[in-house]
Amino acid sequence: MPLEKKEFKPKIVAFCCNWCSYAGADLAGSSRLTYPADVKIIRVPCSCRVNPMFILRAFEKGADGVIMCGCHPGDCHYSTGNYYARRRMTLLFSMLDYIGVESGRTRVEWVSAAEGVKFSETMNSFVEKIYSLGENVRLGDLRCKN
């Protein structure tokens, strides 16, 4: 059976901390600043709640990109959460790089509650990057594909 060439619609997961980035995403929404619908946001209390396992899980399940947004360094609602997040992600990303997942598929951005514009710009550029990278085949679990 010939494989049908489907239009590439990436799956992108965004982890947003409740206090800054999620509010920034809300502001992008209320300011009607568009970004592609491929981005789906998961609310977490703080960027430090994002377990690297969640990101691996997303890739395993077929996500093409994962972006994590938190408060700006120094502005974390829980004082230090985003510092931990930053370290964890640095480590995770270098390991992803090692196993051959393109570094553009993951990103950490600091978006404050007042930065709706930055949120939408970040999402636009991230989605654009994912489009240019194409489908993620490296980590995807074949059993999860239909």
């Binding site: 568009t34 789906k40 377990n51």
Partner: protein, 662 residues
Amino acid sequence: MQRIGVFVCHCGSNIAATVDVSKVAEMALMEPGVAHAEDYQYMCSEAGQAKIAAAIQEKGLTGIVVCSCSPRMHEATFRKAAERAGLNPYMVEIANIREHCSWIHKDMEEATKKAVILMRAAVAKVNLNTPLQAGESRVTKRALVIGGGIAGIQTALDIADAGYEVDIVEKTPSIGGRMSQLDKTFPTLDCSACILTPKMVEASAHEKITIYTYSEVEKVSGFVGDFTVDIRRKARSVDMNKCTGCGVCQEKCPSKKAPSEFNRGLNTRSAIYTPFAQAIPNVPVIDREACIKFRTGKCGVCSKVCQAGAIDYEQKDEIITEKYGAIVVATGFDTIKLDRYDEYAYSQSKDVITSLELERVMNAAGPTHGHLERLSDGKAPKEIVFIQCVGSRCADDRGKPYCSKICCMYTAKHAMLIRDKYPDVNVTVFYIDVRTPGKNFDEFYRRAVEQYGVNYIKGQVGKVIPKPDGKLLVQGSDLLDNRQILKEADMVVLATAIEPNPDVRKIATMLTASIDTNNFLTEAHAKLRPVESPTAGIFLSGVCQGPKDIPETVAQAGAAAVKAIGLLAKDKLMTNPCTAHSDELLCNGCSSCENVCPYGAITYEDKEVNDHGIRETRRIAVVNNALCQGCGACTVACPSGAMDLQGFSNRQIIAEVDAICR
């Protein structure tokens, strides 16, 4: 298995115009655990909430997903509605299909698809939700106000009048703030000091108010209802209890070369000083950098002349620790530095001044004793040019992108006062727009033009050139006449942009209050909660939240006070039940979680556990639910996966990830 009800809101046309809501409801019924799905015009309305309650009771629902606006908007509303219908409020989840979907996407098919996915993620999460019980924490019935300007004073007075203790922390030696530097106030031309000083006196005399001047907030810990704050009382070198405020020390002090902060550096003050005559408290401080005794060890004149023996060169900074239930930030503003606006020759000529400096020049207690004169040669000016929007409304990084709001009005005030007192002086104002929204504001501006003959020219000034004869050549454009103007002036006054006090960033970090790129503190909701920070227990008063004039500041100060009183009036607060907890069978007592916890909420206990029939005593992490704020740092640090966060558990988030990637 849960029995989940999915409620899709149209939000009028806000959602329904771009998302096929009935399709979302229809798709919801195919999700595991969903027992009921419906859509309705306004889910947050009385009728919408009644629908939720009815469905809970009729269908025996155990979980709710509301597809609507942001959870930051109405999560509390729907949780309360569920609670009233007998469901645990934490069994409610929101799928944000407005801010994150309908408002940002245009294509109906695409938006509907995304809304369905967001709904699925929420359903997947609710399937794993467990009922949570909120705990209680106590409220310390004392408020802290950071900043002793008109905003801080008004907030403190209002809180104190309601019967609660208030502390004001002020960085400078006296309360009063910017308003004490103003000469007159618009639009009534009241004398600023005459309306401010009674309030300062009232605050200092109020039995419920403690004022810490020359003090700074050093450290903040805790949370709403129970903040612990370290306040650094800088060494005044003067004993506040002994000093009588006679002022002899200031008179006799031989070091008189320090620039006066109060007069914006236009004249000098002694090394031992009170910022201004009506200072509260009327106790001087020694500026140790200017003081001869501190620099060379020789002098001590103030100590000799002080009859009360109040001078204490050995005094050291003192840290006091106090508990507060609520904190109000009232840190105010400063004018921006003009070093990047050299075209206006501010640094080249003494006769180019900012409006705040003009305020001091016009004031009887100012450097010229209230006479309008050129600061370079003391001559009376005949031609004065005002330049508006210096650094305001600026798209590049030289200035500020916002309108400073007060400049149009104070310039009209200055122009009017000058024309009134010195009718032979010509006043020209270069403006881009005159913005006078406010009660009696436009009438005031029109009076300046019609009655006082102030010459308003639409157009900005390009440069100011100091001439060898001391005059200033002002080159501006007149856009309405379409010509370039070259005008000789004796004085140029710059309506300099205002910016939040630079210290506010440090304070926001300590309070974990969010702050925007312009250093204004962010409010919890731009329209509906304008005086509260998103961080519970932190309230905003005055210009730290955005540019404001005095009446607005006072109004906001009162509003912030009411919000703080509302908090202090409660005996107990419900705590966030979304806290961490550790699985004692998995925990190996490694201390990783304790190390990352910012609240010290994790301790270790030796506990007897029953691990599959083996009874033994193990060192196990225990979370103090009153201290835990639910950030989740520990959950990721835990190597054995014993730590989990209620409400945002590993399984729940993974379920969401799976649902999105499905």
